[in-house]
């Protein structure tokens, strides 16, 4: 069912937006590479010379609370130092036209990641490759969620694939900062090129599949008519392919899709990169349907 997504988002009544705060209560966090632990800190860490006292507001890190001042005066102040380590999440998105088929779920996933990133990190950097250009957006603090939400409404898949451009941009920012790269990983040669560019980094490569491609979802639940043919078209290249009987050909396609994912996973592992794939759920679903895209949090 096509959705007039832009209108809903602009109105601020998107159901998924309302669902997002519920993810903060779940013991799940953003998917991270194993290297993430050895690279950065879990929270903001300040060091250096003392700079100032800052009034406490709920939600601040209690470790910075000056207990002595609290005991002496009863006021809650935070000790601020002149240097600190900033933790940011880098989100890469290959927004080529070929992503149109999975944009409905992927847009929700992107919002989820930015939302969680703004709460778990100091900032979220968003790199979007689209039409041969690389756009860079920086969102700092939870307060920048509104700005992201406003800019998000203008995003939609179009143009050629910019996967190598995106990988090169991500590698230039930092190789030791955590990040998540979302793409359809097509064509294959560009995917392999991106793998080699990101080799050894702390990025998680994520492939969001749609239910049509998931082997575990029964075909009968896809609402496909039995003798329907389909004219498959790649919106990026315009190439068409007629499939006489979609239901008949779907198992073979899913099997090849499964082999393709296994092959990508193996190739990414050989470059020291985790390659995750999960099926995009129905955007109308609850929080549990998005758990395959999250990792169990270490807070438990």
């Amino acid at each position: 069912m096509p959705r007039s997504e832009g209108a809903d988002l602009s109105a601020g009544k998107d159901r998924f937006d309302q669902l997002l705060p519920a993810f903060l209560d779940l013991p799940f966090a953003l998917p991270r590479a194993r290297e993430l632990g050895r690279v950065g800190r879990r929270i903001r860490v300040e060091f250096g010379s003392f700079r100032e006292y800052q009034a406490y507001s709920p939600g601040d890190d209690l470790r910075a609370l000056d207990w002595k001042v609290l005991a002496r005066t009863g006021e809650r102040v935070l000790r601020r130092f002149d240097d600190w380590e900033h933790r940011s999440l880098v989100l890469g998105l290959d927004l080529s036209a070929s992503l149109a088929s999975r944009w409905e779920g992927l847009s929700c996933l992107l919002r989820l990641y930015v939302f969680l990133g703004l709460h778990a990190f100091d900032s979220v950097e968003l790199l979007v490759a689209q039409g041969g250009k690389l756009r860079h957006r920086l969102y700092e603090g939870v307060g920048s969620w509104g700005r992201f939400r406003a800019e998000f409404t203008g995003m939609h898949p179009e143009g050629k694939s910019g996967l190598p451009l995106l990988a090169r941009g991500l590698g230039r920012i930092s190789k030791r900062r955590p990040g998540i790269l979302l793409s359809d990983w097509m064509p294959e040669e560009e995917a392999l090129l991106a793998f080699s560019m990101l080799a050894g980094s702390a990025f998680v490569l994520l492939f969001p599949r749609i239910p049509l491609e998931d082997f575990s979802i029964p075909i009968s639940s896809l609402a496909l008519e039995t003798k329907d043919g389909a004219r498959l078209q790649d919106p990026e290249t315009g190439v068409q392919l007629d499939v006489e009987n979609l239901v008949h050909a779907l198992p073979a396609f899913r099997k090849i899709q499964q082999e393709w994912e296994a092959s990508r996973r193996h190739q990414a592992r050989s470059q020291g990169l985790p390659f995750l794939s999960a099926t995009l759920p129905d955007p109308e679903g609850d929080t549990h349907s998005w758990l395959p895209f999250l990792h169990l949090s270490e807070r438990i």
Partner: protein, 537 residues
């Protein structure tokens, strides 16, 4: 491939229904955007098709079956082609067929190979073939034991005429021979071809009527050498140049074969054509070789340079060269210095003033007479009068000719050598006079080894103390070479190509073959359906 006919051609109209097999009802495809086209393509290929191939192949197979069945029902057949139903081949077994035409190849082997090729073309089972060999006047069936080599008797092709008359109207009689004369062994399928029942008068191309050779020197005298291998008869030849009138050659050819040079005076140019005097063609196996070349320039080296003046004075005073030479020849003496002609008196006139030499003197001895007539007439070696006391000391011994002198000579002259009937070397009794009364062709020098030696020794005696070289070699003759191939003789008329023999071909139906093909295709389609059902389950 021959023509194709159908017994019921109207059944081919069913082929118009063939596009129905490829007609595909237009379906509505649901548009679906995807970025996995490459994987979809692989999936379709794995299912046995891809881009519609899985549906195209069975349609192609079905259409093949349909076409095969329709064409088979129409009854295609190759119609019967009328033609020769028997083939008799006669090989010329004359000795000339043993002539080698290449490494390991002779005319006989070529003829056998061509006859076998013709037999294969006719098709052994449909057109029976028999081979014969013509040996003299006998036509013998050719077996394996007698066909390895040609025989020794010259073939007489006229014997073929009654043989060919025995053949029926549907029998082709082919004679493989090498032709006669200068006609080359035909590279193509040139041969003499008789069809059965042919009348004698219709048999053509028994041999060539004349031979033609192009003349590359139309403005000068030429020497025509020809040899004719004859049989018993002694034909009279005639010759013409260009389109001029025919002239009977003043030759009486001896029975023995050999090369006969003939001087042809300067004419109007054009090719030379030799033919028999009558209208008859040359007989088969008559071998005529024509060779054309300009007459060579004869030169003999002899006299030392300081003796040239002495020699000139001697020739003038003692030999009487200033006066008319004795009959019947004209003596011409040329004195050369190097390559420059110092004096060439037309009738022996010598100017001593222009004979001051520095380097060397060439004394050219020769005559300008009708060479061809004389040489042919007096063909033979020089006969020496070796008992003459004038030749004593010249080491000529052991031979006394029967007839030394014929005809009148001036007083005091004696003939020392003759060329045929003509006196060649005449010497005065006082051993002071030298005269040449014969023709000395350059080619004949090697046959007359004593002649220059004799002359030089004689001149040495004449000139007293002058040193003469008694051992001498003739200078290489001036030979003008023509363009290669220009001097090749061609037979007139040219060898005729063999007529195309159309062999009898029986009718052949194709319907059973097409039915078997359709059956095989149906089996293929059946197994394909069976295999696809098995993979789906």
């Amino acid at each position: 491939m021959g023509q194709l006919a159908f017994t019921q051609p109207w059944l081919l109209l069913f082929l118009l229904l063939l596009p129905l097999l490829f007609w595909k009802p237009r379906r509505s495809f649901r548009p679906l955007e995807t970025d996995r086209l490459a994987l979809w393509q692989k999936a379709l290929e794995r299912m046995g098709g891809g881009r519609g191939r899985s549906h195209f192949f069975p349609r192609l197979l079905n259409s093949l079956i349909f076409v095969t069945l329709v064409v088979a029902a129409a009854g295609p057949k190759r119609p019967e082609r009328p033609g020769v139903k028997k083939l008799w081949q006669v090989l010329d077994a004359s000795p000339s067929m043993a002539v080698r035409t290449g490494p390991g190849e002779s005319r006989w082997s070529s003829a056998r190979a061509r006859s076998q090729a013709l037999r294969r073309r006719g098709g052994q089972p449909t057109v029976p073939s028999r081979s014969f060999r013509l040996q003299g006047s006998l036509i013998l069936p050719m077996g394996d034991t007698h066909s390895s080599e040609p025989g020794l008797l010259p073939a007489r092709p006229l014997a073929l005429l009654p043989f060919a008359a025995q053949a029926g109207a549907e029998t082709a009689v082919v004679f493989w021979g090498d032709g006669a004369g200068p006609s080359p062994w035909p590279k193509e399928e040139g041969s003499r071809l008789f069809f059965g029942g042919a009348a004698v008068g219709r048999v053509e191309n028994q041999g060539f009527r004349s031979a033609r050779v192009e003349d590359p020197w139309p403005d000068k005298d030429v020497l025509l050498f020809f040899s004719l291998v004859k049989e018993d008869s002694s034909p009279t030849l005639r010759m013409r140049r260009g389109v001029g009138p025919w002239e009977v050659l003043p030759l009486s050819l001896p029975k023995k074969s050999g090369i006969y040079p003939l001087r042809i005076p300067r004419g109007s140019g054009g090719p030379l054509e030799i033919a028999l005097s009558g209208e008859d063609p040359f007989q088969r196996d008559q071998h005529l070789v024509l060779m054309l070349r300009p007459p060579p320039d004869l030169r003999v080296t002899a006299v030392p340079p300081d003796k040239a003046q002495l020699l000139a004075r001697f020739l003038r005073e003692r030999c009487g060269l200033s006066s008319a030479p004795p009959s019947p020849s004209t003596v011409q003496v040329q004195i050369r210095s190097g390559g420059n002609l110092l004096a060439a008196p037309p009738s022996g006139q010598v100017d001593p003033a222009s004979r001051v030499q520095k380097k060397g003197v060439l004394l050219c001895l020769g005559t300008q007479v009708a060479e061809g007539q004389r040489l042919v007439a007096v063909r033979g070696a020089i006969e020496w009068n070796r008992n003459d006391p004038l030749l004593k000391g010249l080491d000529l011994s052991g031979f006394v000719p029967k007839q030394v002198l014929r005809g009148d000579l001036p007083a005091g002259f004696r003939v020392l050598a003759r060329l045929g009937k003509d006196p060649l070397l005449v010497v005065h009794e006082r051993r002071r006079l030298l005269a040449f009364l014969g023709t000395l062709p350059h080619e004949g020098l090697f046959r007359q080894p004593f002649f220059p030696i004799l002359c030089l020794r004689f001149l040495g005696q004449v000139l007293g103390q002058g040193k003469t070289r008694t051992r001498m070699r003739p200078l290489p003759p001036k030979v003008e070479y023509a363009q290669p191939g220009l001097l090749d003789a061609h037979a007139v008329p040219a060898p005729r190509r063999i007529d195309r023999i159309s062999f009898f071909v029986p009718a052949r139906p194709y319907a059973p073959f097409l039915a078997m093909l359709a059956l095989g295709l149906i089996a293929l389609a059946f197994f394909r359906v069976l295999f696809s059902l098995r993979t789906k389950t």
